[in-house]
């Protein structure tokens, strides 16, 4: 299961933001989008964990201190049909007057680089330790009990649980129980479903 892409759109133009949001949601899910009319609003939010930033050339130049180090994660909206030299040569950009098809291609270019790393990290198989944790979860143990039994810290248990959920795409204990029985990690007799 892919993690949601966290995206910040820093644009004063509401229609532009919404248009961009709808293209991102339609063509590049899953995304989680936050809107900021100005750069100040973004800094005021104190949130700096975005995977991507969308902004216009003016803000990019004005807040170059912020955007330059994040150049590979930033997309600049440029007023035109075709890209010309200048800023656009070295940075990711969308030409807002181009056709939808071209804009989608431009967005694709931004996201492809990253996608590879995401898919390689989501290895489907559970590790031995994760299987141990899964067995205990399914038997109804609390996180604390699991930590004690396996001699690991509570935080480690939590991170194992998070990884299990990401790998299997299953969140609830009932769902995990089902998966465990199905894959012989635990026998159906041990447990009441």
């Amino acid at each position: 299961m892919h993690r949601n892409k966290q995206i910040a759109i820093i644009l004063p133009d509401t229609l532009q933001s919404i248009g961009l949001q709808s293209m991102l949601t339609d063509y590049f899910p899953p995304v989680e989008i936050s809107h900021y009319p100005t750069f100040e609003a973004l800094s005021a939010s104190g949130n700096d964990t975005f995977d991507y930033y969308f902004t216009n050339a003016a803000s990019f130049v004005l807040y170059a201190d912020f955007f330059l180090p994040r150049r590979s994660k930033t997309m600049i909206l440029i007023d035109g049909v075709e890209s010309e030299g200048g800023v656009s040569a070295t940075t990711n950009h969308i030409t807002i007057k181009a056709s939808q098809e071209i804009i989608i291609e431009q967005l694709e270019q931004l996201f492809t680089g990253d996608n590879n790393s995401i898919s390689s990290e989501s290895n489907k198989e559970l590790s031995t330790r994760e299987t141990d944790v899964l067995q205990l979860i399914v038997k109804g143990s609390t996180n604390k009990e699991i930590a004690d039994k396996l001699n690991i810290s509570l935080n480690t248990v939590l991170s194992h649980r998070k990884n299990i959920t990401t790998k299997l795409g299953i969140k609830t204990v009932s769902g995990l129980t089902f998966y465990a029985i199905m894959n012989g990690i635990i026998s159906g007799d041990d447990i009441e479903l």
Binding site: G169, K171, T172, G175, F178, Y179, N183
Partner: protein, 227 residues
Amino acid sequence: MSEVVEEHPSLIPVINRFGIRLGLGDKSVKAVCEEYRLDTDFLLMMINTFLNEEYFPEKKLQTFHTSQIIDYLTKTNQYYQRYQIPNIERHLGSFISMSTPGNNILNLIGKFFSSFKEELTSRIEKDDRIWFPYCLSLSEKLKEYQSSGQIEALHLGTEQRLEDPIEALLADLKSIMVKHLSGDYNENLCYAVIFAISSLEKDIKQHNRIRYRILTPMVSAMEKLCI
């Protein structure tokens, strides 16, 4: 009105909840609402939020009366119990019996669904017995306050809602079938099951949006005023 329903047949159960039945003719939404004595704004709002996931005008929804919202939620609950759950069960039943017997995984899916059903049923029961009457009594109390001169608008907090267990269970059920199904099974019936689960999931998402983002904040605001 008929045009929008033709375009989006998934609306049919929604309008049924309001008592509107098919055979709409060429009547406008307004005319239909007048005929059934419904609040046009409220119906439109429900239809729009149902169709469009981005559209969720919290401020405007919160101006409707508590009893309207509870009435709608009660009806969606009834719809789950009377139609959608039995519907999935029917599909699931034939899916399990028509697929190769001995595919244990299918029986397990059946069990998993039953545990989901129990969860949903108990939530509905709690709604009917405790939660909804409580919300209504609060809103009655508030009316008395307001008529006695203490008119104050509700100040709604914006709390983040936790993951809903019902939604999570359904998502898991679907995910298990899509990602982890194995062995021999009947493709057509499998699709029917997943399709039915998806449509229930979509409906419950809408229900939960109203429940957690409208009703819950309204209630906590009323509590602050009354107590």
